[in-house]
Symmetry: C2
Subunit: 310 residues, 2 copies
Amino acid sequence: MSDADSSQDSPTSQVSAEGVGAVSERQHRATEWFAELRNRICAAFETLEDELSGETAERMGDIPPGRFQRTSWTRSDDSVDDPGGGTMAVMHGRVFEKVGVNISVVSGNFSPEFATQIPGASEAPRFWAAGISLVAHMWNPHAPAVHMNTRHIVTTQSWFGGGADLNPALVKDDDTRDFHKALEDCCNRHAVADHERYKAWADEYFFNKHRGEARGVGGIFYDYLNSGDWEADFAFTQDVGTTFLDIFPRLVRRRMHEPWSDDDRRQQLIHRGRYAEFNLVYDRGTQFGLKTGGNPEAILMSLPPMASWP
Amino acid sequence: MSDADSSQDSPTSQVSAEGVGAVSERQHRATEWFAELRNRICAAFETLEDELSGETAERMGDIPPGRFQRTSWTRSDDSVDDPGGGTMAVMHGRVFEKVGVNISVVSGNFSPEFATQIPGASEAPRFWAAGISLVAHMWNPHAPAVHMNTRHIVTTQSWFGGGADLNPALVKDDDTRDFHKALEDCCNRHAVADHERYKAWADEYFFNKHRGEARGVGGIFYDYLNSGDWEADFAFTQDVGTTFLDIFPRLVRRRMHEPWSDDDRRQQLIHRGRYAEFNLVYDRGTQFGLKTGGNPEAILMSLPPMASWP
C-alpha cells in the first residue's frame, strides 16, 4: 500500500492536484499550499535538530540530528476514478522524539450514515478533501507537544477548517501566553476570523469529556469556514500555518536545552496517555480518516512514541 | 470520589448487594460470586509474584513481590437512590507490570439514546449491572497479556455476558492451544454454552477493524445469555471465571522465567499500543462505562502501563 520515499521531491510530486480528477484552480492552489507548508515546517524542524548542543545533546547519546523520512500511500476506493492518497513525513530525532507532518488529497463518497453529519453531503455523497496534519512529541518534557491541522473540504459545499493546540506535560505560563498571543494576532489580521470564538471552540473541542479535563492548554479550532470570500478564507488558513511555523520553533528553542528529571519524563508519558485517549475517542480527523478508508498508519501517526497509564 | 483501602475486607464489604436497593436473591448471589472470584484471582496472582526467582528476579532489581491495592469508588447518579460503585484492585509487581481486577455493582437509568441499544431498556431505562473485569499486562514479553470479564445485567430482561482473550506480544502456539482448549472444555461442560459460536464471536469482537488485524489470539466472547435456566447460565459464567483462574497462571508459570531481549520488549510495547487502540475505539465495557457515568479511572485501568507507537 505504501512505499518509502525519502527523496526531496517537488512539493506536489507525491500528492498531485491533477491526480484526483477534475479539480478547480482553487483546489489546486490549496493542495500546493499544504505541500509548501509541509516543506517549510520540515526544514524548520530539521534546523532545530541541528541546533541541539551542550549537555542536552550529550544526554541524547548517539542519536544523530533527525531527518524527515517520507512515505507515500494511495487510497483504495472503487467508487471514484482517483481516490487519491497522501505523503507522511516522519522524523525521529533528538529534539523531536516523534513528529509527523502528513499531507493528503483524497476523493470519494461518504457512507450514507456519515453523509448526514457532513455539510452538503446529504445532497450528494461525493467529497474532495486536502489538508496538512502535524503532531509533534518532544523528548524534553519541558518542551510542549503540539498539534496543527488545516484542511479544505469540498462537497456540494466547500469550506476550510483547522486549528492548533499546545499540549505541555509541564505547563509554562509564558509558553501558553505566547502561543495564544500569536494565534490571536493571526486571527486579528483576518476579518473572516474570530479569535474569541475559535479559542473557545478549541477549549470545547480539545477536551477529554470522560475525565472532565482539557487535553492541553488550548489554541484555536475552526471548521466550516465559508465566509463567501474564498480568497479571504484561504488567506486566513495559510496564515494559521505560517503563524504556527513562527511560534512553535520559538517555544522549542526556549525549552530544548533545559535539564529534566525522571519524574518530569514520567509526567510527560502520563500526559501523552491522555493525548492518546483524546485522539482515539474524540478526534474528528481520526474519525473522518477511519470512516473514509484512510491509511491507519497515517491517521494514527499522531499517537505518542511512548505513553504510560501507570 | 474514591478512597484508598488496601485492607483484606470480606468479599462484599466494598460492594454490597444490599447496597443497591431491592435486588433479588439471584442478583445477590451473582454479586457475591464476582467478589469471591476477585479474591481468589488476586491470591493466585500474588502467589505468582512470590514464585519469581533466579536471574529473572535479579533482573527486576529491587521491585518486591507485588500485592494488590484496593480502592473503592461510588457512582454519582441522582436518578436512583443507590447508584452503587465498585472496587478496583491494582497490583504493580515484578511478574505483573500492571494488573487490575475490578468488581462493580451499579444501578441507574440509560440515556434514551443508549437505551435503544440495550435489550429490554426501551420498555424502561432502569438497569442493574454487576461484574468482574480483569486485564493483566506482564513484564515478561514472552508471557501473554490477558483479559477476562463476566457480568450479570438486569433491565426489564436479564442476562449474563463475558469472555476472555489472550494477547501475546510474541505468539506461542502451545499457549494459544492450551488457552483455547481450556475454554472449549469449559463450554463443553455446559449445555447452555456453544464454544464454536463463542470463539467465533471473540474473533469478530476482539478485532481492530481500522487495521484489519486481530488484537490477540482470541478466546471466547458471549453476551445476552439467557437460556431460560438462570442457574445453568450462572453456573457457566462461574465456570468461565474458574477456568480462567486455572489456565492463566499455568501459562504465566511457563513463561515468567524466560529471558527476554530489548527487541522482545519493543515488540511488547507496540502490541500494547494496539491493545489501547482497541479498548478506546471499540470496547463495549469502556463504552458502557463512559456512557453510564462510570469511574474513568476504573474503566481505563485496562490501559497498559507503558505502550509505544514508534
